[in-house]
């Protein structure tokens, strides 16, 4: 038997066949690959912003106010002479950071509460279900507005607010998966071996939730970036001193700007749309990969 083990050691594949199959499935979806490329492209551009432009996004230059795009200012300048290209790049950093950290925070919170409720059930479970129902029936934007009105305007608060509203989808998902996976035979088999509930939850059930959770993460990231933009646009998101895609666009509240200086809002607007589009396509692709019906 010993040599069998040795032979097996050699045959052990480097990459798991599951990962390989999932990768293949993902690569088959052209739109998803395109989405991933878009996301990577935008993220990289934002990260290497200092290499791409010498302008400081906050630097006011009254002598260069409202210049149309040119070779010196790729995307033109705004009303107080700041370089729009630099602002879009640096703003992207902030927007993506806010969206992603809000979504990740919400995911962590949702996974924790969801797996707790899914594992133990009981009155705590019903409590969280009611809370989730309540929070999700109030228009999210209004909730954000109230919270911003109460805790004040700052980037940290906004992320906090997103986490507070964003855990629900993940919570429902994880809880639901727990409830359905609990009935699956492989979980019962583990229980028949006497393996503890906590161990089953973390080793068997949770890994099976991760796919859908990651899909939800992409959805939330996309949603939060859109919300941040909307909030900042109406002046209630991130303080205007910090450039974000939404903040840059708030100039477009005037008809004059809309009709005469489109570069002030078209570029950040396209940046948001492009990035969110990429995230959504990517998420769609992931959903196809993780769809349990195809397992």
């Amino acid at each position: 038997m010993a040599e069998t083990a040795a032979v097996m050691e050699q045959r052990k594949p480097k990459k798991s066949s599951l990962a390989k199959r999932n990768t293949e499935r993902f690569l088959r979806n052209k739109l998803a690959v395109m989405g991933l490329l878009i996301v990577l492209f935008v993220v990289v551009l934002c990260l290497i912003a200092p290499l791409l432009t010498d302008y400081d996004p906050a630097k006011i230059s009254l002598s260069e106010r409202i210049q149309a795009p040119s070779s010196t200012h790729l995307f033109g300048t705004d009303k107080i002479g700041r370089d729009v290209f630099a602002r879009v790049l640096y703003g992207g950093r902030m927007s993506i950071l806010i969206g992603l950290s809000g979504a990740i925070g919400g995911m962590i919170l949702g996974v924790i509460i969801g797996s707790f409720c899914g594992l133990y059930g009981g009155w705590l479970d019903s409590f969280f279900v009611k809370v989730a129902e309540l929070v999700s029936s109030i228009p999210q934007l209004l909730l954000v507005l109230v919270l911003v009105a109460i805790v004040g305007q700052s980037m940290r608060n906004l992320i906090f607010v997103f986490i507070f509203t964003g855990w629900i989808a993940t919570f429902r998902l994880v809880r639901g998966r727990f409830f359905s996976l609990r009935e699956e035979s492989f979980v019962e088999a583990s229980r028949a071996f006497g393996i503890s509930n906590v161990s089953i939850a973390f080793r068997h059930i949770l890994p099976n939730c991760l796919g859908p959770v990651v899909v939800q993460l992409t959805l939330n990231t996309a949603g939060f970036i859109l919300q941040e933009a909307a909030l900042s646009f109406i002046g209630l998101g991130v303080p205007s001193s910090v450039p974000t895609w939404g903040n840059i666009m708030d100039a477009a509240k005037e008809i004059m700007v809309i009709s005469n200086y489109p570069w002030l809002w078209v570029f950040p607007g396209v940046a948001i749309a492009l990035f969110v589009l990429g995230v959504n396509f990517f998420g769609d692709g992931l959903r196809d990969v993780f769809d349990p019906n195809q397992m």
Binding site: S137, L141, V146, A229, A252, F281
Partner: protein
């Protein structure tokens, strides 16, 4: 059915109570109190701390929170919504003037986007895997990826500024001039509804395809029914159930979106007023508006829920529960 209706309605009550409580706590947490709201800064500075305290006491502001909450709710129910600090006018009047405009905007957006979303979704499902289907799925993702306000701005640029088909800003009361008011409605409701349209289209397509794979559709075809009958009576009717759930989930987003869109189009609605109130720290007004909008959203969701129940006899009649050992 009636029983189901009352059950749903009863469930609303605790929800409304909790929301109002949250709103009240929110009000408590905001800087300043009703006194600051009632008195002008000049009056405030002229009074001593003792005098202010005495006034608070006489107004019952030092009472325990629950009592004050009760008083607040009773006032609300009596129709006394308080006074807006910013404008000095009663909040009731502000709501009366502005809420209908917002509801009209959202309703138009909801109805139009539902119709368009359904039609496109059904079409995409029938022509599955065709170019039409492919294009519409790409458009569907595009629709949920572009910020609503960006679409609004683009709409202003093209349809108002360039083509001058519709006015860019403002609104007219329906009562004053019907056609004129419609003109003002087109662009905001279009921008507001487009996200829902896209999402609904994707959802409708998937739901239809789901139902199309069901055995009872095969049964319907095996009866020799023509395709149009199969689609209308057997596929669509069943596909509607998940679709209406989806509309339900999107409804709060629609109301939230209205706040932003009103800002873009300078549309004098409650959302627009909400923003000015926040900027002016008119918290009483802010919370009343949010309370109202939340209740509207809740109420609408119950209506859609009931609609789903009407569609599905299993919900309506209570499905027989068969659990337990196999």
């Amino acid at each position: 059915m009636l029983k189901y209706f009352f059950q749903r309605m009863l469930l609303l009550i605790p929800m409304v109570i909790v929301i109002s409580l949250l709103a009240f706590i929110g009000l408590e947490l905001t800087p300043g109190d009703p006194l600051t709201a009632m008195l002008s800064p000049d009056q405030m500075s002229s009074m001593t701390t003792e005098e202010l305290d005495a006034m608070r006491e006489s107004l019952g502001l030092n009472d325990p929170m629950l009592i004050r909450y009760g008083r607040w709710v009773i006032n609300l129910l009596k129709g006394d919504l308080g006074i807006s600090v910013m404008s000095g006018s009663p909040i009731k009047d502000i709501i009366k003037n502005l809420l209908p405009a917002t509801i009209i905007l959202t309703m138009v957006a909801l109805v139009v986007s539902t119709l368009i979303g359904l039609i496109l979704g059904i079409f995409a499902a029938i022509k599955q895997n065709s170019i039409v289907d492919y294009l519409s799925s790409v458009l569907g993702v595009l629709g949920i990826s572009i910020p609503q306000f960006f679409i609004g701005i683009l709409a202003i640029l093209f349809f108002a500024v360039r083509l001058q088909w519709f006015p860019a800003q403002g609104r007219t009361d329906i009562g004053l001039n019907f056609w004129q008011s419609l003109k003002y409605l087109v662009l905001p409701s279009f921008s507001l509804g487009i996200t829902l349209t896209a999402a609904l289209m994707r959802h409708t397509r998937n739901s239809m395809l789901d139902v199309l794979n069901k055995d009872y559709v095969k049964t319907a075809r095996a009866k020799g029914l023509p395709e149009w009958k199969v689609y209308t009576f057997h596929v669509f009717r069943n596909a509607m159930m998940p679709i209406s759930v989806m509309i339900l989930l999107r409804l709060p987003m629609l109301i939230g979106g209205a706040v932003v869109i009103e800002q873009v189009f300078g549309y004098a609605g409650i959302g627009n007023r909400l923003l000015t109130a926040i900027n002016a720290s008119d918290y009483q007004l802010v919370l009343i508006i949010i309370l109202l909008l939340s209740i509207v959203a809740l109420f609408a969701s119950v209506l859609i829920d009931l609609f789903t129940a009407v569609l599905d006899p299993r919900v309506r009649l209570g499905s027989s529960k068969n659990q337990g050992g196999a």
